[in-house]
């Protein structure tokens, strides 16, 4: 297999679906594991907010049920990113990516703040629209080449249509990065750094992985 | 939240020992390069932090500084 991220270290097979670890995917995998661990063991911080037009400031508290739900969502998000990092199957990758989009909405949606909820809503809309090019690309590729396995596609023989790759990148950007430009500033009104970081991290990781995928296949 | 001097000392000794052992193992060829690098990546940050904390860590006998009337 083309070694764009270094030589394969080992391959984990589940029947015809496999997970492969190259130095690149292993690095991303370890980082996803690390930050998921941090989300599990960290307590949320008390964000200090300055009241506009005065000297007053107050610390936002995160209630226990809210923290529990958001931690659950952050862990789910971490697991989805871990899956997306090592999956050697294009459909599994798109599935994990769409799950990252959903859980990212979940992480901020539990915060009872009108601005944050609006941002989560905007994020959700963009992420939902992006599933169309995302799964569309997987469908296009399987229809033209007859396989979704990344090593099989990388081995050559089948010409992967350029539009399929372009749609895949568009879908991943829509799930992860683009919503930030629609909703980012407001999303960070939400306290709870360990969970909010998972939003950024997962988006970044799926983007880094898709670069490897489109250059490999 | 001041850290105890003992805790910091344990951390410093542990990280320094790990680095030295990995370095010796690497030079004698007992472990491959990537394994030594993995150990350094984990232990070096810990060494930097604990070294800094150790320099200033109190032994528990400090007085409050004079902060004015």
């Amino acid at each position: 297999m083309l070694s764009i991220g270094g030589q394969d270290l080992f391959v984990l097979e589940f029947g015809d679906i496999l997970h492969y670890f190259s130095p690149y995917t292993l690095t991303l995998f370890l980082l996803a594991v690390l930050f998921t661990g941090l989300a599990i063991i960290s307590r949320p911080e008390e964000q200090i907010e300055i009241a506009f037009g005065g000297d007053a400031y107050y610390a936002k508290e995160t209630t226990l049920p809210e923290m529990r739900f958001r931690r659950f969502m952050a862990i789910a998000c971490g697991l989805a990113s871990i899956g997306a990092m090592v999956s050697g199957d294009l459909f599994n990758y798109t599935l994990f990516t769409s799950m990252v989009g959903i859980t990212n909405v979940g992480i901020v949606a539990a915060v009872k703040n009108r601005h944050v909820l609006n941002a989560a809503y905007a994020y959700g809309i963009v992420a939902m629209i992006a599933t169309l090019p995302l799964f569309g690309s997987a469908a296009l590729i399987v229809a033209t080449t007859g396989t979704l396995s990344i090593p099989a596609l990388a081995a050559g023989g089948q010409a992967v249509p350029l539009v399929g790759k372009a749609l895949l990148v568009l879908g991943v950007v829509g799930e992860g990065m683009a919503p930030f430009y629609a909703a980012k500033a407001e999303m960070f009104r939400a306290p709870g750094a360990p969970y909010v970081i998972m939003c950024s991290l997962s988006s970044l990781l799926i983007f880094l992985r898709v670069v490897e995928i489109v250059t490999t296949i | 939240m001041a850290m105890k001097r003992k805790t910091v000392e344990y951390g410093l000794t542990a990280s320094a020992l790990i680095i030295v052992i990995a370095w010796i193992a690497l030079t004698t060829g007992a472990i491959p390069l990537w394994a030594a690098e993995a150990v350094f990546v984990v232990a070096f940050p810990a060494l930097v932090l604990t070294l800094g904390l150790w320099w200033r860590a109190g032994g528990g006998e400090e007085d409050f500084p004079f902060i004015g009337y």
Partner: protein, 281 residues
Amino acid sequence: MIEYLVCAAAFGLLLLGIHRKVIARIQMRPGPPVWQEILHALKFSFKSTWVPRTASATLFVGIVLVAIAIWSAALFVVLAGESILILIGIYMLHKIVEHGFGLSSGSPYGKFGGVRSVISAASEIPLFVTITAIYFFTGSLLLRDIVAYQAVHGPLLLIVPPAAIAMYLVILSKLPFGPFSIVESKEIVSGYKTEHFGVWRAALAVTDGLKTFVLLYAFVLIFLGALPFWLILALMTAVLVSLSFVCAITPVLSPYDSVTVQSIITGLMLAYIGYLWWVVP
């Protein structure tokens, strides 16, 4: 190997000191001595240190460890001649680290620094364009293959100059006092670094040193190829001084302008890739 880490961090800090000195001389100030950044790192490590009450303590400390760890890993990746995709992954991960630094304390200044860091994600896309352009010619992204390619065909700087410019701008956007350094600009105190004081800040200085060294070293290796080590160090310093000139004569852009300029650069680079894709068989 540990000696490489220490030397790289010290040399990186020295480079940052030279950076400050050059900027100061251009602006007709005396400027600090060139080893000032090394002294800073030592000074901060002697200061008393604790964790703010509002902070998420585990993340507040953990992110410092992660910051040093990822750039140590980056140094080893470059030294081993592994895939530059890993290097770029780590570079982008540095965004998350800045984000973590900023958010973990609960301070509004840190938060603004962190948010700006993620907003300026557009600055990283030229990096991917750079590697795509290199990939068109070398057919591999392993650093040793790129160096081997240049031994045969001459430096990539002459073959794909726009890619070199793109990476140059990417390094520029990570340097302090540059036009794109909105994450730590002074209207938000020190941005994401604001609440990390004492030993945390000393560790951050070590990270900055490693980061500067790795980025410049990788730049020279990727675009000029294998050279004697002393020449690589001299070229790194030369590249840094040229960057200092840019930093000295440009103001810090406002966040929106910074993102706009970086997006325009990304657009130009994408057009260049389209052109390469059309021309190169």
